[in-house]
């Protein structure tokens, strides 16, 4: 059965993992690195680059590259004004409020799900190369505090990348699965997850293999990115003040400074002091030393923003801070010593960080993938019961929200509401669904507007329309409606407030066939390499058989030459030369195959079976060197 992979689609880095036996492992990319930077670039030839290959463009031609796209998933232009001040996102000029965002990359435009799909496609490819087999199903992680629109956008990204997303798993919950796999832990656990762009806190109860989330909270726009931006702003101010150089409108210089401050930030996790040295335009030079103490003072306000959500989650779970048995740290930003102390003080526990904080979410996603695939010894009895992070409500009279599913309800969860008409003969009823904790609809996140259509003509107030809201195990909302008096299934027209429509996703899937060509090429390459391995192994066997000696010297020489050549081309990335090499070697070994066949048959006549004649395979594939098709000729 095809393997299901687990994917951590991160703000800064993305990873793909799977269960190797009883252990989840990360699949490295071609460059050997486990982390694929979540950077996408469009090169001068119009080709898409992802990861380390794209990172170069961030500095050289920033208008051709995009990073931290996760920040824009499922959002509209009106709620990303803060992001636009801090990140060099280049939006399409003609965007209107309520429209799905489009990002300019070189001379082209892509929606955030499409850009995320490029990253997913790269991970898919890495996994396919690793397995030598196609991958089409995945579990993808999302921040626990992602709302419906952000989740839907992630699912859309999967579809565009040619992946069936079997489950969206919350990142902190996934991490708890990875932690819970080895030791059979029992009791309450808090997972503090501070990543590149998002913060989550989840409180779980572990009981006989059930991972039950009791409460979750967070901030989908709080992470390492914010620390970087803070340091960047300070550096730009410094440069303007001390050197009289305003670089804010110089994207190349901004990216170079950004890179330098990130390096300093990372250094400060290990050392007490870091030094920034940068060559600037006009022959100027920026030099600055920063101590860990200074750094901690600067970032304190940002880290402080994680405290409120932690306290709220504890309160919602019904715990005093000291009552949680264990605390696990997840996300690259938890490497900062100050974060550790903050968590330790908050929960009064020494936090765990045995598992690599960059990888633990992907590892957990792999565990969940295994559970979905039907489980194994390692995941036996493991079951995840997650919650919806935000309350679901309907806009009622006067713009207030009537909450119908409260936050931290175990999902799947549902609610049924009844609606009626206000005017005689009214055929439509409009429903506005929102997500959030605020009392007024305008302060919550608008999810969708539904139009209940085709209500049979009746006096006002008589129709009774039953609307069912169901949040599935991915945290995504489904709505169905029925007019009860007529028993008619009411027609619902869903207009997602920020998401892509099904038609849009379909057309993006079609567009992505351009890139699917690359996938096809990749698949051909994988198949050719596999065949190469098979034929080379078989040839090794053949050379030890008596038939090898029956060949002429020239024949043997030719085979050896082709064997060597095939070995070489198989190292390359081009599919065609490998195919050609395979074909040539197949032809050259035809007589060897026949001779081996004859000897096998004569051995068989002497009373031995085909198998003991060392043919390797049964009669269905009589010749181990040449595939069956050549025998047919």
């Amino acid at each position: 059965m095809e393997r299901i992979v687990g994917i951590d689609l991160g703000t800064t880095n993305s990873l793909v993992a799977y269960m190797e036996g009883s252990r989840p492992v990360v699949i490295p990319g071609e460059d050997g690195s486990n982390l694929v930077p979540s950077v996408v670039a469009l090169d001068e030839r119009g080709e898409i680059l992802v990861g380390n290959a794209a990172r170069r463009y961030l500095i050289e031609t920033p208008e051709r590259a995009v990073y931290s796209i996760k920040r824009l998933m499922g959002r509209g232009i009106e709620d990303i004004q803060d992001e636009l001040r801090l990140f060099p996102f280049r939006l399409a000029p003609d965007l209107k409020p309520g429209e799905v965002l489009r990002i300019r990359l070189g001379d082209r435009e892509f929606t955030p799900p499409e850009i995320s799909a490029f990253i997913l496609r790269q991970l898919k490819r890495n996994a396919e190369r690793h397995f030598g087999a196609p991958v089409s199903q995945a579990v993808i992680t999302v921040p626990a505090y992602f709302n419906d629109a952000q989740r839907q956008a992630t699912k859309d990204a999967g579809r565009i990348a040619g992946l069936e997303v079997l489950r969206l798993v919350n990142e902190p919950t996934a991490a708890s699965l990875a932690y819970g796999l080895d030791q059979k832990r029992e009791g309450t656990v808090a997972v503090y997850d501070l990543g590149g762009g998002t913060f989550d806190i989840s409180i779980l109860r572990l009981h006989e293999g059930i991972f039950e989330v009791l409460a979750t909270n967070g901030d989908t726009h709080l992470g390492g990115d914010d620390l970087d931006n803070l340091l960047l702003t300070i550096a730009l101010d410094d440069i303007r003040g001390d050197l009289g150089l305003d670089l804010r409108r110089n994207p190349e210089a901004v990216q170079a400074i950004r890179k330098a401050v990130i390096e300093a930030k990372i250094e400060l996790s290990a050392k007490e002091e870091a030094r920034i040295e940068l060559e600037l335009p006009q022959g100027k030079k920026y030099e600055r030393e920063i101590t860990r103490r200074q750094f901690e003072g600067l970032i304190q306000p940002i880290l402080g923003r994680t405290v409120g959500p932690c306290k709220q989650a504890l309160k919602d779970a019904g715990f005093q801070p000291g009552a949680v048995k264990e605390v696990a740290l997840v996300g690259g930003s938890t490497r900062i010593p100050k974060v550790r102390t903050l968590v330790q003080e908050l929960f009064q526990r020494e936090p765990h960080s045995e598992l690599n904080p960059d990888e633990v979410v992907a590892l957990g996603a792999a565990v969940q993938a295994q559970i979905l695939a039907g489980g194994s010894q390692a995941t036996q009895d493991m079951l995840l019961l997650d919650v919806t992070p935000l309350s679901l409500g309907i806009e009622a009279l006067g713009g207030v929200v009537a909450k119908i599913i409260l936050r931290n309800s175990t999902i799947p969860a549902s609610a049924t509401e009844h609606f009626t008409t206000g005017v005689e003969g009214q055929a439509n009823v409009a429903i506005h669904v929102v997500q959030g904790e605020r009392e007024l609809a305008k302060d919550c996140r608008s999810l969708a507007r539904f139009d209940l259509k085709g209500i049979p003509p009746m006096p006002a107030g008589l129709p009774r329309i039953e609307v069912k809201f169901l949040i599935d195990a991915n945290g995504i909302l489904h709505v169905s409606a029925r007019e009860q008096r007529s028993g008619k299934e009411a027609e619902i027209q869903v207009k997602p407030s920020y998401g892509l429509t099904d038609e849009q996703v379909e057309s993006m899937i079609l567009d992505s066939f351009d890139y699917a060509e690359e996938d096809f090429r990749q698949r051909q390459l994988i198949e050719a390499r596999n065949e190469t391995e098979t034929i080379l192994a078989a040839l090794e066997k053949g050379r030890k058989s008596p038939a090898w000696e029956q060949l002429t010297r020239d024949e043997r020489k030719k085979i050896e030459k082709l064997q060597k050549a095939l070995r070489e081309v198989a190292q390359g990335e081009e599919y065609k030369p490998i195919r050609d090499g395979l074909e040539a070697l197949n032809q050259a070994t035809l007589r060897l195959a026949e001779l081996m066949m004859d000897s096998a048959v004569s051995t068989a006549l002497k009373g031995k079976t085909m198998e003991t004649a060392d043919l390797g395979e049964g009669p269905a594939a009589p010749h181990p060197i040449a595939p069956a098709e050549i025998i047919k000729k």
């Binding site: 559970i371 079951l383 929200v401 549902s414």
Partner: protein, 254 residues
């Protein structure tokens, strides 16, 4: 691959009201969640939360047993187990696990359990939520809320004090005497609020006794309504007091 569940004697096995159908898969007699013969998942049907757990409509409830049943059923109904099952079974699993979660959430909490039972008994509980308050504010109308008779005097007094506090705050400093009065009123209300739990327990006993009697003989509807209405009254007082405490807290914090 299709997930097949063997019947588990530890799980509630019952026939849902009006459902006497056969298992869709093997044709044998079906139980509520899984076929008793072949173990396959059965269609999701509309059901009340007590029936879902095969519980009588009683208010005293063994929450430890409820939790155990919740975990056991989760292990068999959750959509994670049906990822590779048929579309139909996937839909049933989604529907049934949402019913399971909704039912567990409602029944495990004593207040929401009582509210739910009253809803089944045909009571439309008064909306005293913050949303109702906001709604009234938006429309510029006074909040439609009936003051529970036993609280009339206290509420009248409290509103005067709140008014005074606001006035004194507007003038500059909050009058310490008024603040002290409000603190006192607040702790009195909280005390009252705490006492409601014991009162509610008493009604639970009455209700459950009625249910047991009903299993043996016809119980006059009036008796049923009497206990029901007492509980409604108590819940109204409860949410009224809670809102008062919130109002006082807000006034003190401002």
């Amino acid at each position: 691959m299709t997930t097949v569940h063997k019947p588990d004697s530890a799980l509630p096995v019952f026939t849902e009201s009006g459902e006497t159908g056969a298992c869709w898969s093997c044709g044998d007699m079906r139980a509520a969640h899984f076929c008793q013969a072949c173990g396959r998942l059965q269609p999701a049907l509309p059901t009340d939360y007590f029936s879902f757990f095969a519980l009588p409509r009683k208010l005293n409830l063994d929450t430890a047993a409820l939790e155990r049943d919740f975990y056991n059923l989760s292990r068999k109904l959750h959509p994670d187990l049906y990822v590779r099952a048929t579309d139909q079974e996937r839909a049933w699993s989604l529907e049934k696990s949402s019913q399971l979660n909704d039912a567990y959430r409602t029944l495990k909490d004593p207040i929401s359990r009582t509210q739910y039972l009253l809803k089944l008994e045909g009571v439309q509980l008064e909306e005293q939520s913050k949303a109702a308050t906001e709604k009234a504010k938006q429309k510029g109308e006074p909040k439609q809320q009936v003051v529970p008779p036993g609280l009339l005097e206290e509420v009248f007094e409290l509103n005067l004090q709140l008014e005074e506090l606001r006035r004194s705050k507007k003038m500059g400093e909050a009058d310490p005497a008024v603040v002290a009065d409000l603190q006192k009123a607040k702790s009195h209300l909280e005390e009252k609020y705490g006492g409601l739990d014991a009162e509610l327990k008493g009604y639970w006993e009455q209700w459950d006794a009625l249910m047991e009697r009903e299993a043996r003989e016809a119980v006059p509807l009036e008796e049923r309504h009497r206990v029901r209405d007492r509980m409604v009254d108590l819940l109204n007082r409860r949410s009224y007091i809670r809102n008062l405490v919130r109002d006082v807290n807000e006034a003190l914090e401002d």
